[in-house]
Each structure stands twice: as structure tokens, then as C-alpha cells.
Symmetry: C2
Subunit: 240 residues, 2 copies
DNA sequence: CGCCATCATTGATCCGGATCAAACGGGCCG
DNA sequence: CGGCCCGTTTGATCCGGATCAATGATGGCG
């Protein structure tokens, strides 16, 4: 208030309160850049299943996932669906410099977004090479993950696939157990249907394999969602 | 010869004779940049099946594919293999700014490479934003293709998968027929085994589905390799 | 509090693709 | 020219996961 000029380069209040402030692309932005973004950014909340962007639509804005899990999917002409990726906080949604969306984007869990107009972010990318590098890195990591998943879809059986997915979620959402680094606890942000669509399986098969892993003591499940992995290394072995 | 200084900014002879001179990343390079690259580039030829880079090795150079087709693959602990991508001329091999290779790289057909030391290319990328953009675009396109293939692996049956692969190769390697834009002719750069590893199927199933498509008149095959697609739209329909 | 809608589990049966096995064909080398 | 080797095709059988069907939990709402 005393120095308006100085204020413009302070970290905006919304950013200071944001839980991805020091993660993802935001970690490499200066206070002034955060201020520029915050000025045109819009925060939105979404319920599970809510469509965020539809395939083939024009791309007009990017969005940072600040909380929750987002599904990227494509549908075949015959109606069958394939989830082609999951995005967790603090990932950025939107194909960099793309003109249109090639995937459907949908909230898997409760999701908070920080939407940024296309031109604002691209302007920022153009002037900040570190930011550009960071986003390039994320794209390349997405590519690695997509290729990993191709192996899962092409060469693993149902049991290994389910184990692979539990592992993936455990790594992104899991909290390590007290006194036991191998123990992991988390809430599944996906329905059985979402899991099936990501794994290239049916709901029934996913359910059966989870039951099997449960009977074998590899996982404990409560309320269909609360998951405990007593031994992550054991799960890793089963994932192939 | 008369003006050595001027010569350094002329397009190098090897580049002038190169069939990807005006494609891929080389299209956006100045004569001086081409000269810089050519000075440290090394051209190599490889027979089908020859390993070009092995998984988890240190990444020390990039390579432009100037001719032929290259397989990117990963192997599971149980020995099963999954091809996670194909690279055609004029694609660049090597994960940009990566420190190690996460995939096996192997010649599928006869392959010609133009190898460029890691630091030389990265230096060029650092000073040429257009080049950086171009390579970013290729990475994003690779990501799109990987996701497309995830749909193929997760949600298509054997017939659709084989049709999808024929379509993919037809689009990258095919020559359109005279007087008939729907007709395409090409040589398969892959063995049945390679195809199976890309499609998440067995050799036998690939062979059976090709036979089936042949009996239906969707493709004509001679010598296992020479392929004629009388109607590309028909194939597109079958690919799902 | 109890009904209903939704999601998940479990069971029975079927089928597409894997596996096992054999024959085929073309190219290369002796 | 003949024989072998490798990649491919074709056939017979098996099995994992899809499909069809029914039951069981859970959370929202009147």
C-alpha cells in the first residue's frame, strides 16, 4: 500500500496460499512473473467426472493442476474409451503451443485448477528460457511415461497391469508409513471404471485382480478407496 | 577455395547431397549452422537388427535418421519386448537434454544416420530458438503418437491393430498410386516379429490377420514385404 | 429411516488370441 | 544345383480375460 510499484513484484496472495507454489512450473517463476500470471489466472474447482476440455476443441487456455487428479482420454469410434494419461498436481494441462486438444480432459477426483490464458503463458514462455526448459522437461517426462504404459498395455497380463497402476498412484499420491519406508498409504483417485479404461481391461477383471492381491496380502483395501501397501518392493516385483 | 572465410558459411557438400537436407531440424538451420554441425557429424550405415543404442546407457550423441526406419523398444524382466515407437527419416534420435537412454534403439531396416555429438547440438539449440521450437514440436508429436498407440494397444482387437500398423507405415513410407490417390504402395520395413512386438501380439496372430486382410482384398502382399493398399480409406475404417 | 442409484464384487460361460506344432518358401552358401 | 537356415504361414488346442448375469455395499436424498 505504501509502495504500489513494489507491490507489483511481490508474490500474489493467491500464489502464497497455493500448495503448488514451489512446485512444477511455478517454482521457476519470479515474483513479477507470478504477479503477471495471477492477474489473468482464474481458479476453478471441479467434481469427479466433470469434463474440463473436450477432444478436438480449440485450445484457449492452459491450466495448472493445483490439487487432485485429471484423466486424459481418447474414445474410439465404437465408443470404447482409453485413458492415455493421468495428471497430478503440479502438472500443467494443455499441449504446449498446440492449437487444438487431441484428448478429452476430465476430473478424476475433486480437482482444483489454476487456468491461464493461452497467450499469457506463451508470452511468459517466450521470455523465460528456464520456464520453457521446465515445460519441455515435463513433456519429455510425459513421453517417457506414455512409453512405459505402452509396455504395460502391450506385454503385461491383468495382474501385472493392476499392480503397475497401484504402483503409479502410490508413487504420486502415497504417504510413506511411519518407521517403515516400504509401507505406503493412499486414497485411490480413480473408480474401477477409470482404472479399467487406463489398463485396457474390464471393470470385472480389475475388481478380480484387486481381490486377488488383497487375499495375497499385497494390498489392504477399505471402502474401495483407501489403500495400504504393506511392501512397495513386493508390489514392484509383481508389476513386472 | 578462393575465399576460405566465405566457404565456412556455405552449405556443406554432405548436406547438399543429403536427402533430409530440407526436412526435419535441418530445414531450419542456416548454412553456417549446418557447417558447424557437419564439422563434427559422422555418417554411419547400419544393417537391419543392428543395435544403435542400448537402454540405460549414457547418452553422448544425437543422431538424425537420414534413411530407413528405427525401432525404439523396452524389454520386461521376463524377456518380453515391446516396441514403443518407430522413427523414420528425418526424425532425430535421442531424448533432448536427457542424460541417459530409457529405450533400446535398433535399426529395423537398412538405416543411415548422421550422428551429432551431444554438446554440439545442445549448443546449437541454446542459440537457435527456432531449432529448439522445432525439436519441442517433434517431442510433442512423439507424445501424441505414443498416446494414439496406447489406444491401439488398450482397446483394439488384433485385426484393428494390424490395420493400424499398416496405416502408420503407409503414411510414412507410402507412395501414392498413379491416377488414384487412395492407392498406396510401400515396402514393409519391419519383420513379422517387429510388428508383433509393436502391436502387443504374437507373430502367428500378425501373420493370420495379414492373411485375412489379404483374402478380403484390403491389402496385396508380395515377398512378405511389398505391400499394396488398393484403398487407404477402407484400411482406415478397419483400423478403428 | 429407508429407498434408490451407483459402484463394486463375485460367479458362469464364451471367445479371441496365445501357445504348441508342423509345413512352407526363399535366399545364401557350399 | 542342392541343402540348410530363417522368417513366415497354417493348423490344433488351451487359457486368460471378456461378456453376461446376479448379488452386495455405500452414499445421497426424500
Amino acid at each position: 500500500m505504501s509502495q504500489p510499484i513494489a507491490l507489483s513484484s511481490e508474490v500474489p496472495a493467491t500464489c502464497r496460499a497455493c500448495n503448488v507454489r514451489h512446485a512444477g512450473m511455478c517454482a521457476v517463476l519470479t515474483a513479477a512473473e507470478l504477479a503477471t500470471m495471477a492477474r489473468s489466472a482464474r481458479r476453478t474447482q471441479h467434481a469427479p467426472g466433470e469434463p474440463l476440455v473436450v477432444e478436438d476443441s480449440k485450445l484457449t487456455s492452459y491450466a495448472n493442476v493445483t490439487d487432485g487428479v485429471v484423466k486424459l482420454s481418447r474414445v474410439l469410434r465404437n465408443g470404447r474409451q482409453q485413458v492415455v494419461g493421468l495428471q497430478f498436481a503440479p502438472d500443467l494441462l494443455g499441449r504446449l503451443f498446440g492449437r487444438e486438444n487431441l484428448v478429452n480432459v476430465e476430473a478424476a477426483s475433486e480437482v482444483d485448477l489454476c487456468r491461464i490464458p493461452k497467450d499469457v503463458l506463451e508470452q511468459l514462455v517466450a521470455t523465460n528460457p528456464v520456464l520453457k526448459q521446465r515445460l519441455l522437461d515435463q513433456s519429455l517426462q510425459d513421453l517417457d511415461e506414455a512409453r512405459d504404459w505402452m509396455v504395460t498395455l502391450g506385454r503385461k497380463d491383468a495382474r501385472q497391469r493392476v499392480a503397475s497402476l497401484l504402483l503409479l498412484v502410490a508413487r504420486r499420491c502415497g504417504a510413506p508409513g511411519i518407521d517403515d519406508p516400504d509401507r505406503v498409504v493412499f486414497d485411490l483417485p480413480l473408480t474401477r471404471s477409470d482404472m479399467a479404461d487406463f489398463l485396457g481391461l474390464t471393470i470385472e477383471t480389475v475388481s478380480r485382480q484387486i481381490s486377488r492381491l488383497r487375499h495375497e496380502g499385497v494390498v489392504q483395501v477399505a471402502n474401495h478407496r483407501h489403500v495400504v501397501i504393506p511392501s512397495l518392493p513386493r508390489l514392484e516385483t509383481l508389476a513386472g
